[in-house]
């Protein structure tokens, strides 16, 4: 690795040869404002916001695509550079609609942020602004407001370079330029939601999130998406004990800056169709809802009529390392079974690609593998009744029905098809309501942290299990 020595704003610095001025400045805590540059995409150099002055270079240069060289002297905060920054802001704002009061980007908008930091000069544009279409449905849940767009082309480059489906392009010329799909087409790539993430202004917004919450009310918890075994790092944005949206979190070794739409919009299951109270079967087959204590008592009574060899424990690849360990440890050491089984989420024809999405739709099969558990299909013939950690797969559910097995206790976060064969359902927290770890497809153990407190009466599985065996 060749390092070069250079100066930014009279500070001596070093960096690896080839580093851009912008990144070198960032590493030393100097912010160079920019719109079109994104570390996960190719460099476009078209917004011109990152222009800086370099000694011996007559014209200002774009710091995003100019590498630092030995002895380079850079200035990012002279009056000349500040004037350039303010002038680019002025140019960007002359046709930009004053939508802030109704625009979702407010609070996380680079035009707002940079105006406050690098401009603050009142407008002197008194002509008619360029008018364009303000509600273009691009498909895949992405809405485009053409007037707000600053034609930075981040979204165009994202679709072409990361999603590998060049579904967006720039149409027309000059200040009538607009981002569009090809005529008659819609976006359908599985990562389309990321275009909303990369858009630095409110041009691209999520149809799902629009008008729901002002972003300054949202809090963020770092987490891991449980949608497949990739384990994309995410942020859970929440308020009022509800999850409003998920965003990808940068991890250069796992998901870079991205996540897929399936994972992104699965947040709804954190809010909807939840199992938050314990319930058990009445004699007529209907459900009785009650306290955890009452439900546990029902379960104890049910299990008492079975011999130890007739009861099996089924762990789940949907749960955290800690929850699986607690469940398996209880089964082996407290209940005293010889082998523990497992089930998982196994939809038909699962989609996968070479980008992020794996065919294994479980966040933690790697941990299950480590513990040498048996698939449910290999269930010992003596077993008559199951204690199940989470939802059974479709085929495992069919197996249970075919063998006429009872699910004495089902631990659940949401209402699922499994409920039909369960006798007692006990609520457990979702991944958003607890701390823990998932082990991804590469064996990487990744932590996730609680955003919310457990909903309703949900408690950790080990608490339920302890109650189950307590006298």
């Amino acid at each position: 690795m060749v390092t070069v020595n250079f100066k930014i704003n009279d500070c001596e610095m070093t960096a690896e040869a080839g580093t851009s001025i912008l990144e070198a400045a960032k590493a030393s805590g100097i912010e160079v404002p920019h719109y079109c540059y994104h570390p996960g995409l190719s460099t476009a150099g078209n917004c011109r916001m990152c222009l800086v002055k370099v000694d011996k270079m007559g014209k200002p240069v774009t710091s995003c695509n100019t590498p630092v060289t030995e002895g380079m002297v850079v200035c990012t905060d002279s009056p000349e550079v500040k004037k350039m920054q303010a002038s680019i802001m002025e140019f960007l704002l002359i046709n930009h609609p004053l939508d802030c009061p109704t625009c979702d980007q407010a609070g996380e908008c680079r035009l707002q942020d940079y105006y406050m930091k690098f401009d603050r000069i009142p407008s002197r544009f008194t002509e008619e602004k360029v008018h364009k279409d303000k509600m273009v449905d691009l498909g895949a849940g992405v809405m485009l407001d053409e007037e707000r767009c600053i034609v930075c082309t981040r979204c165009v480059r994202f679709c072409a370079e990361v999603a590998k489906e060049p579904e967006l392009h720039v149409q027309n010329r000059g200040d009538h330029s607009m981002v569009a799909t090809f005529p008659g087409k819609e976006m359908h790539n599985p990562y389309a939601g990321c275009t909303v993430d990369v858009c630095p202004v409110g041009a691209l917004t999520s149809k799902d999130f629009r008008y729901k919450k002002r972003v300054w009310f949202l809090q963020s918890a770092p987490s891991i998406c449980p949608g497949c075994s990739r384990g994309c790092n995410i942020e859970i944005h929440h308020a009022d004990e509800k999850v409003f949206r998920l965003k990808p979190r940068h991890n250069p070794d796992v998901n870079h800056y991205w996540m897929c739409d399936a994972g992104r919009f699965a947040y709804k299951s954190l809010n909807e169709n939840r199992c938050t109270k314990a319930q058990w079967r009445k004699k007529d087959g209907g459900w009785q809802v009650g306290s955890n204590k009452e439900a546990v008592a029902e379960a104890k009574a049910l299990l008492a009529s079975y011999a130890p060899g007739e009861v099996a424990f089924v762990a789940s690849a949907l749960e955290s390392n800690e929850a699986i360990d607690a469940f398996v440890s209880h089964a082996l050491n407290i209940a005293g079974v010889a082998r523990v089984y497992y089930s998982l989420n196994a939809p038909q024809n699962p989609f996968s690609d070479k980008i992020l999405i794996t065919a294994d739709k479980n966040p933690n099969r790697a941990h299950i593998k480590k513990l040498d558990l048996l698939p449910l299909s290999e269930l010992a013939s003596s077993v008559k009744v199951l204690i199940v950690q989470r939802d059974l797969s479709e085929s495992d559910l069919g197996f249970v029905r075919k063998k006429g097995l009872k699910v004495a206790v089902l631990f659940a976060t949401n209402q699922t098809a499994c409920d039909d064969v369960a006798e007692v359902i006990l609520p457990v927290p979702t991944y958003a309501e607890q701390d823990g770890h998932f082990t991804n497809v590469d064996g990487r153990v990744q932590p996730f942290f609680a955003a919310l407190s457990p909903a309703g009466e949900a408690v950790q599985i080990h608490t339920h299990l302890a109650a189950l065996v307590a006298r």
Binding site: G45, N46, P60, M84, S87, F91, L92, R173, G174, D175
Partner: protein, 415 residues
């Protein structure tokens, strides 16, 4: 005087191969096969031939930038996207003497080691495209293009490609993007096309008029070319003259020729009111000259640069004193704002803003503050963009405001 470029203008069927060959064509090209490519480049460097598209960069020097040891194929692109307002010389070269260009292409490709040339022709040029296309076909049929040209072991393919109506595609890197099937957006430079050009390969892009001079230089020698012109601006140039002159048209004159003589002799004198007010010497992208400045100007690169303008493409637009400069400037601003590719912020928004101000200023009147704002917008555009289209509007705007303040003051609204 024997000219370099326009010798066949006026001959019947001058665009055909038989007429070209019967008047001395395809003779110079045969010399190169007993020369080294480097020798050809040296001759062109000696001649001092400068790019005739507008920038005036020494052609031979540009050819020398092509890396000789690169394993990549080399390309020659002929910029026939003539779109600079006031310029119509390349069109005549293509319509009336296309074989001269083809002979120049063959020599140039040999010099830079290229076996493939694209002629990027302005989409609106119907007759010109037909004529150059037909000439290329004639050359192939005669074995002057294709495999083993002139019976030698050199292969050369020439393809005529039509543009689709964008002035910006005359910018060399936007031209390359367009040739590659993409939107005509200028590229960030460096890297320059000589290293990373068409399809990422070393490429020379030259104007039609530049390459059309190459057969003369190889045929008669660099010294013959230098018989005309000045030390730093050797040779001859085509000037496209329009506006208030009695004889508008395309003229070939030696560089250094006084503009006054040109307007009064070749161009027949000022028409209209007969009183000269202003001259644009090199296409609408260069600063304008007052009549006083024009009467003392010489038509070469250095003299015009010394007067704060440029020789540019040699598009001479002559205006008499009936022309309102506020009207003329708003015509220009409409053009540039319409043609901006839209890639970078200062040009995309700045050209649009300048145009809106000038249209409104002319239509409804304005204030001195409008003019101050125009100058500031120009300052915020120049030097901040990916290509010089922004400068091509900003520099003229500054010159009109500075040199013709009365024309704008006439539009100030009464308080």
């Amino acid at each position: 005087m024997t000219k370099v470029l326009t010798n066949r203008f006026g001959l019947k069927d001058s665009h055909t191969l038989p007429v070209y060959e019967s008047t001395g064509g395809y003779v110079a090209v045969k010399k190169i096969f007993s020369m080294q490519p480097a020798e050809v480049i040296t001759e062109v460097v000696k001649s001092g031939l400068r790019g005739r598209g507008g920038a005036g960069f020494p052609a031979g020097t540009k050819w020398g930038y092509i890396p000789k040891d690169s394993p990549k194929p080399k390309y020659l692109c002929i910029n026939a996207d003539e779109s600079e307002p006031g310029t119509f010389k390349d069109r005549y070269l293509l319509e009336l003497d296309p074989h001269q260009l083809i002979e120049g292409i063959i020599i140039t490709c040999f010099a830079i080691g290229s076996n493939c040339c694209y002629i990027y022709c302005r989409g609106e040029f119907d007759l010109a495209t037909k004529r150059i296309g037909a000439a290329v076909a004639e050359a192939y049929a005669k074995g002057y293009l294709g495999k083993g040209i002139f019976g030698k072991g050199y292969n050369l393919d020439v393809t005529v490609h039509r543009g689709a109506g964008a002035y910006i595609c005359g910018e060399e890197t936007a031209l390359l993007e367009s040739l590659e099937g993409k939107r005509g957006h200028p590229r960030i430079k460096p890297p320059f096309p000589a290293l990373v050009g068409l399809f990422g390969c070393p490429t020379v892009i030259n104007n039609v008029e530049t390459i059309s001079a190459v057969p003369f230089i190889l045929g008669q020698g660099a010294d013959s070319y230098r018989k005309w012109g000045t030390e730093k601006s050797p040779g001859t140039k085509l000037f496209s003259v329009s506006g208030h002159v009695k004889k508008p048209g395309v003229y070939e004159v030696p560089l250094g020729y006084p503009l006054k003589d040109f307007l009064l002799n070749e161009c027949g004198g000022i028409s209209g009111t007969g009183r000269l007010k202003a001259v644009i010497p090199g296409g609408s992208s260069v600063p304008i000259l007052t009549a006083e400045e024009a009467w003392s100007a010489n038509l070469d690169y250095e003299s015009l640069a010394a007067k704060g303008t440029m020789l540019g493409s040699g598009g001479v637009i002559v205006m008499d004193d009936s022309v309102d400069m506020a009207w003329a400037l708003k015509n220009l601003s409409l053009f540039y704002s319409h043609e901006s590719c839209g890639q970078c912020t200062p040009c995309r928004e700045g050209t649009g803003w300048i145009n809106k101000i000038l249209q409104r200023f002319y239509r409804e009147g304005g204030t001195p503050e409008d003019l101050g704002l125009l100058n500031e917008i120009c300052d915020n555009m120049v030097g901040k963009t990916i290509c010089v289209l922004a400068d091509a509007l900003a520099m003229p705007v500054r010159s009109y405001l500075q040199k013709f303040p009365e024309d704008f003051a006439r539009h100030f609204r009464k308080a």
